[in-house]
Assembly symmetry: none
DNA sequence: CACCTCTCTGACCATCTTTGACTATTATTT
DNA sequence: AAATAATAGTCAAAGATGGTCAGAGAGGTG
C-alpha cells in the first residue's frame, strides 16, 4: 500500500464512507498527492468502476469536476438483474472478482461462497481460449446470479 | 540446511510462526539473501504449496507483493484428497451431486454453497459436448475441493 | 563414473502503475 | 461569433514488479 493509486483510492473511499457522494477537482487532488492529473483518471478507472458499485460523472472546462457516487440499490433482486445486464455474455476475471466483492458487501453472498465461486471463475479453472473463457465466465456468473435469487 | 532455498524457507516460516500471514516484496527478499528474484519463486513453489498447507497470492506491477498464509490442515483433508482421486478428470452430473451432498454431510460445505456449486456444474451451465462437459465438470470440482481447504 | 534429483540462474514474459503529450469539452472574455 | 482559458479524457510509452521455463550446477547414490 505505498503506491499512489492505493493511497488516493483509500482517501476517496474514506470520504465516501461518510458522504454518499463526492465531487473533486482533478487538478487539486493531483496536487495534494503530488502526481500527474491523469493519475486520477487511472484511480477512477481501476478502483471506482461500475463492477465495484460506483457511478462517476464529470465535466470539463471552467468549473469542471469529477463526481463519484456509491450506487445504492435497495432491492437486491434489482441489483442482481442489473448485474446480469452489465455482464451480458462477456466477463473478465477482474470484473468477476469485483462483482463478487460487491455481492458480499450487499450480503447476498458470504465470503466463503464468494471465494469458491471466484476459484471457479479464475482462468486456471477455464481451460480454453481467452475469448471463450470470458464467454464461459459470463455464462457461469449469470447462473450464479440466478441461483442467488432462489437461495 | 546450507542452501539458500532452505534458509529463505526457514526465514519465512519463522515469521509465519508469529503471524498468520506475511506480505513480502520479491526483490527485497532476493536482495537480503543475495540471490536472483526467481529464487523466491522456487522457494514458494517447492516449500509453500497448498499440499504443505500454504496459500499464496501475489500482485505484479508498482506496489506489487507476494502474500503467504498458513492454512489450517484438517483431518478432512484426507477426504478431500480421496474424493479428488476418485473424480480424476471425469464426472457426471449425478456423481457431482452425490459428492456435494457428502461434503455437506461432512460439514465441509453449507447447503447454500452446495446449491451454488451444483448450479454451476449442471449441464445447462456447461454448454459443450457431453464428453467435454464431464471433463470440465471434473476440473471444476477439483478446483472446489482444493478451494475448500483454505476456507 | 553415470545418473538422478534438487537447486540456482538469467533471459524473456505478463501485469499493474506512473507519466506526459496530445485531445476534447465547457466557460469566459473579446 | 471567435478566441482564450480552464478543465477533464485518452493513449501509448516507460517504469516497477512478479512469473515462467529451460538449462547449468551441485550433491547424492548405485
Amino acid at each position: 500500500m505505498q503506491n499512489i493509486t492505493d493511497i488516493i483510492e483509500a482517501y476517496l473511499k474514506q470520504i465516501l464512507h461518510d458522504q454518499k457522494k463526492i465531487e473533486i477537482k482533478r487538478q487539486e487532488i493531483a496536487e495534494r498527492f503530488d502526481c500527474v492529473p491523469s493519475q486520477i483518471n487511472y484511480v477512477i478507472n481501476t478502483r471506482f468502476t461500475i463492477e465495484k458499485g460506483y457511478f462517476v460523472e464529470s465535466k470539463r472546462g471552467g468549473g469542471g469536476y469529477i463526481r463519484i457516487q456509491k450506487i445504492v440499490i435497495l432491492d437486491s433482486h434489482d441489483l442482481l438483474d442489473e448485474m446480469s445486464r452489465w455482464i451480458g455474455n462477456d466477463l473478465t476475471q477482474q470484473a468477476a472478482e469485483d462483482y463478487l466483492i460487491r455481492l458480499v458487501n450487499e450480503q447476498l453472498l458470504t465470503r466463503r461462497e464468494a471465494i469458491v465461486i471466484q476459484s471457479l471463475l479464475q482462468k486456471e479453472s477455464l481451460p480454453m481460449a481467452l475469448e471463450d473463457q470470458r464467454r464461459m465466465r459470463a455464462h457461469l456468473m449469470q447462473t450464479v446470479l440466478q441461483t442467488i435469487k432462489r437461495l
